[in-house]
Symmetry: C2
Subunit: 436 residues, 2 copies
């Protein structure tokens, strides 16, 4: 059968990984796909580097726009990233009737609705397994593997940098700043780590997962996002003592009032499998009404793990290349005319349990004052732990775990608590999930 | 679009679950599949029970053969089990040009080559996600999600009954027989538990996984099978002390000499995620050359988890119903003309580390005798732990962990060790895997 011709945009880490894996496993992939898949042209600004990697195996150009209108190219792989030129290129490729494979989570989280609509109009596929959790085939699992289910919620460790930092903080009892520097030195965090540590990258990914889980448009602007840069090593330690781990989770949940869509540090029971996912690894738990909880784990970043997802898409798209669009899996798992407009709940309306740490004066009546405030806000307490003050200290840490409480009540309570004379400084609050 | 008409054979636990989930989630499934999927006829010997479940929503017949030749039926779901009438029905359905979905691991592990060849000839699909690890979409992950990879090995907890028993033995320090009775009482083990506890069920599943991982025919007769009925609680305890857990694993591995295909109790490092899979849950680790290790976890049995997999296949088959066969994923992941005849290694040729427990007399020279035997067989020792004899005992347990050793050497050494006068009774040997 005629080979499938691919144009690759961007030969950075993932691009080079894709080139390498596709060459190395050409025979294995051919045995599966039933026809050769070959990269015929690479677009890369750094032409010298590109030539060194491709070794003359394909054309190298510095103009990506020439690739998306190249008559020889059947499928375009976009690995440039960002929402600028990458968006233009993807839309142009679609307009030219080419299938697109991308690892660009920011692009899809922010412009997915437009891009998928254009693809639908042109009868082409935009595949994006690599956009979430790298090599873990989570998009396929949710869109196809669990299609019998009404999906109830998804919770995932979908950013390796922050999971590495949290693992190190817990293991070594170090502060966020110290571990971040170490992570940067080891290459687990970028020079400007903002997108990772502030939860933006995880928010892109959970936006995509929410859309394919519930059949709703991507709505990145509605995600509540809180990163880990303010996290105190103390809370990691206390959580541990109480049988919990703190993880940065992307969470999306279906409720009768709407969908939750949020990224924040979360206390989860240490006995859950996902609580034991350490280092830069990713893991996603999907709760379906029929299947219960399933978990998917693996490397969420890196050249070859991400290439693994890109090439899996390539094999899928190759297989369906000449099939009618109706035979393909819909972009957002549900048929385009079946997407619904489930509202995204504001974080104030979200119901979770909460961990709170208060610095209090070690004197009589403190607990009475605090529990009064909580009672007034109808917040029910699950556990209350007073940490013994250190030698010679007259202040102590007080840990509170609440039952399920709507966030706005907690916010009101925190304002009142911080006004109490026995409470010193700010109240720390971390949301909890049982994932049960 | 015209509804897809399904004939369901067998309305036992999984059949009833499939009926229930398909009814309950009809709308959600329609939103995904783009057309209604409806069960039009059910074949069940117990017609009264069937009528109670279906409540008149479809025809009920007691003759399954009438369903596989029913002109109204597009897809047959076979949930009868076993290799007798189920095989006849599946082949007849295929001959009649109907797609087949089955959860029947025994049938596919033993007769898959014949069945897939017939399906290929007739241009129909035989889908079998439910045959391995219940609701966990592991077949899809291996066949499609990891298609970029040269798969190196798969190791899985793919029998819930034995994992439940092993978890209980470890947790409560109880013997195999005691826990088995408890498992039977709770419904985790069947009245005749042989297939589960002796590893046959896991062997069916790893046979299927080996075929789709490496592109080889199913070869159930070549699986080395060892169950857990001979496992001593003592070894679980010692393993724990050394930082290991004992799990019944199905393992298949590609080596230069051939493929390994085996089921046996296995020591694995306690820190591995899969070592922390407890109770009746399933988990499968797949190692690919590009992606590294990925893990898939969830319920491996039960009405609705298994129905989840059956219906996911139903949606896939529905989507591809009228597509050319070349657009479909090949049954064994690789194109039929691309299957290879990788030989399956006899267990004697398999290379693993080993745990050995010897009961030895507590006297001078014992270690010298034992280590001499191992040195003669060129077995290299990784660790040697002498357990203090109990109060007043003159025999002690000696634990040996070996480096990678070919099994036949270990077998020879065991024969020699058991002949030593200082060694009391039989030597216990359990294979180890680092899964690293």
């Amino acid at each position: 059968m005629k080979p499938m011709n691919v144009g690759l945009l961007g030969l950075g880490t993932v691009g080079a990984g894709t080139f390498t894996v596709l060459s190395r496993n050409a025979e294995e992939i051919f045995r599966r796909a039933g026809r050769p898949i070959r990269i015929v042209v690479v677009a890369e600004k750094d032409v010298a580097r590109a030539n060194e990697i491709t070794q003359g195996a394909c054309r190298v150009v510095d103009d990506a726009f020439s690739v998306v209108s190249d008559a020889e190219v059947d499928i375009v792989i976009e690995l440039i990233g960002g929402c600028g030129v990458a968006k233009e290129l993807v839309l142009k490729a679609i307009a030219n009737g080419k299938h697109v494979i991308t690892a660009n989570k920011a692009l899809l989280a922010m412009h997915g609705n437009e891009i998928f609509a254009e693809a639908q109009k042109q009868g082409v596929t935009v595949a994006f397994e690599a956009a979430v959790a790298g090599g873990v085939p989570i998009v396929k699992a949710v869109r196809e593997g669990l299609s019998a289910n009404r999906i109830e919620w998804i919770a995932g460790i979908i950013n390796g940098t922050t999971n590495f930092i949290l693992s190190e903080m817990r293991d070594k009892g170090l502060s966020f700043d110290t571990v971040l520097k170490e992570a940067q030195r080891l290459g687990y965090a970028e020079a400007d780590p903002t997108f990772d540590i502030e939860g933006v990258d995880a928010a892109h990914k959970i936006t995509i997962l929410s859309a394919i889980a519930f059949g709703i448009p991507v709505q990145f602007d509605k995600v509540y996002i809180e990163g880990i840069s303010q996290l105190n090593a103390k809370d990691i330690k206390y959580a541990e003592q109480l049988g919990y781990r703190i993880k940065l989770l992307g969470i999306t949940k279906r409720t009768t009032a709407g969908a939750e869509l949020r990224v924040h540090p979360t206390l989860i029971p240490a006995k859950r499998l996902i609580a034991n996912v350490e280092g830069a690894m990713n893991a996603v738990v999907v709760q379906g009404d029929a299947v219960g909880a399933t978990l998917y784990y693996g490397k969420g970043a890196g050249a070859e793990p991400t290439a693994s997802a890109v090439i899996a898409d390539l094999v899928d798209v190759t297989r369906m290349h000449t099939a009618d669009p109706e035979h393909r899996v819909p972009h957002l798992a549900f048929q385009p005319d079946q997407l619904v407009d489930l509202p995204i709940l504001p974080i104030a309306e979200v119901l979770t349990c909460h961990y709170m740490r208060l610095r209090v004066q070690d004197e009589p009546g403190v607990l009475a004052n605090i529990t009064r405030v909580l009672a007034d806000e109808q917040i029910s307490i699950d556990a209350l732990i007073q940490i013994e003050p250190g030698e010679g200290e007259d202040e102590a840490d007080l840990i509170l775990l609440t039952h399920l409480t709507r966030e706005k009540r907690i916010n009101l309570a925190i304002v009142k608590l911080e006004k109490l004379s026995v409470v010193v400084g700010k109240v720390t609050r971390i949301r909890m999930e049982t994932l049960g």
